[in-house]
């Protein structure tokens, strides 16, 4: 929703701003100012800016989200090995502490930037913007953003990605979409990771997970994947290739008009 055309006025709040509504009244000596701004306005503005950067370099940005330990980094390692060699990959890693994940990625000769958030439980658009100063986007076709392992906070922050991929690992249980509806509603693709564990953890039912996703009105496709035995990897790679193609086609039809004026030099702040 934007803050300019009035589409932010919904069934939930329109009564407040109608004449006689709560927000219309003023008391003596006080002035009520109607604002109607999304609280994340500033973040969303920076996210838009990041997306312009990605688009102006024909780069697809994928935001990977999940709980801690669902296998985001393992999936990325397997992805790096299986994606076509002519697709140039960069990874932005978010963690509270350590460079461990970035180092795992760098072992494959892939550029990885680690964002250590300290105590922040999510990545925001400003952190990604900072990271982009250390990434020459002209050299890449796809940027994976590995968000902080957390099924709550990252869901609220647009980073400027084109696609959200949410991982649900088999050991977590099939009812995670019902417990974390905000996160799973944000998913453009849901991956059921560690699928090699399905025979052992047989109380995880794929159909139940699908039903929980339908309950939150999600039509996101679902891919069962195991970074360990590599099953489902070809479907995931196909999905990525489709997204790259779709993005290219979109940008051919909607060329980027880079409207903001400040200039980005690679390697500067």
């Amino acid at each position: 929703m934007c803050d300019t055309c009035g589409c932010n006025i919904t069934h939930g709040n329109e009564s407040l701003i109608r004449p006689g509504g709560k927000l219309e009244k003023t008391e003596n000596g006080k002035e009520a100012v109607s604002v109607l701004h999304n609280l994340l306005h500033e973040n969303d503005h920076t996210a838009l800016h990041n997306r312009e950067h990605f688009d102006s370099h024909n780069v697809l940005a994928i935001n990977l989200m999940s709980s801690p330990g669902a296998g985001k980094t393992s999936l990325l390692e397997a992805t790096i090995q299986q994606l076509d060699d002519n697709i140039r990959i960069a990874v932005i890693e978010g963690d509270l502490e350590t460079e461990n994940d970035a180092e795992r990625i760098r072992q494959y000769g892939v550029k990885a930037i680690q964002i250590a958030t300290g105590s922040a439980c999510h990545l925001d658009a400003h952190m990604i913007h900072q990271a982009l100063h250390n990434l020459d986007l002209a050299e890449f076709d796809i940027v994976f953003i590995e968000n902080i392992g957390n099924l709550v906070c990252p869901a609220s922050f647009d980073l400027g990605q084109h696609q959200n991929v949410v991982l649900l690992s088999v050991p977590e249980g099939d009812d995670k979409p019902a417990k974390y509806p905000v996160m799973f509603r944000s998913a453009d693709l849901v991956m059921i990771s560690k699928s090699d564990l399905l025979p052992i953890l047989d109380d995880f039912k794929i159909d139940k997970a699908k039903n929980y996703l339908q309950d939150i009105a999600s039509d996101a496709p679902i891919i069962e994947v195991s970074a360990k035995d590599k099953s489902g990897m070809s479907q995931w790679i196909d999905w990525i290739n489709q997204q790259i193609k779709a993005r290219k086609k979109y940008l051919e039809q909607h060329p980027v008009l880079h409207t903001h004026h400040h200039h980005h030099e690679y390697g500067t702040d």
Binding site: G12, V33, L39, C153, S156, V182, D215, D219
Partner: protein, 122 residues
């Protein structure tokens, strides 16, 4: 606890409004949010004294209005009340629905206090 960063973003917006209107202080702040915004109202309230300390809004009351979760069915067109993890149509039971409200996270209004002198100048 992303509520603190969201509360800090809220304070920035409130301060900008107060500055723009030459206000001395802020009496109250009205925020509308829905259960699907991903933000917890109580945590936002808890974060408020920390985020507002030392600002023009440090004595302001933070009023949080909760918007209802409502969906419109893409199949039968009916509108119905829903819950955050059950966004299906109450009339025909279809899960292909569009969210009408419930994910807002909106600064609705700010009530400003102006001193007589400021009023006289402006």
């Amino acid at each position: 606890m992303h509520e603190l960063s969201i509360c800090q973003a809220l304070m920035k917006q409130v301060e900008a409004v107060a500055f723009e209107h030459n206000a001395q202080s802020v009496a109250n702040i009205v925020v509308t949010m829905g259960p699907l915004s991903g933000v917890d109202a109580q945590l936002l309230k808890n974060a408020y004294p920390i985020a507002s300390a030392g600002t023009v809004a440090q004595d302001a009351e933070l009023i949080i209005e909760t918007s209802p979760v409502r969906v419109k069915c893409n199949h039968c067109g009916c509108e119905s009340d829903a819950t955050p993890n059950k966004l299906i149509c109450k009339h025909c039971g279809d899960w292909h629905t569009t969210l009408l409200s419930g994910d807002e996270l909106m600064l609705m209004s700010v009530e400003l206090e102006k001193s007589q002198e400021t009023e006289a100048i402006h």
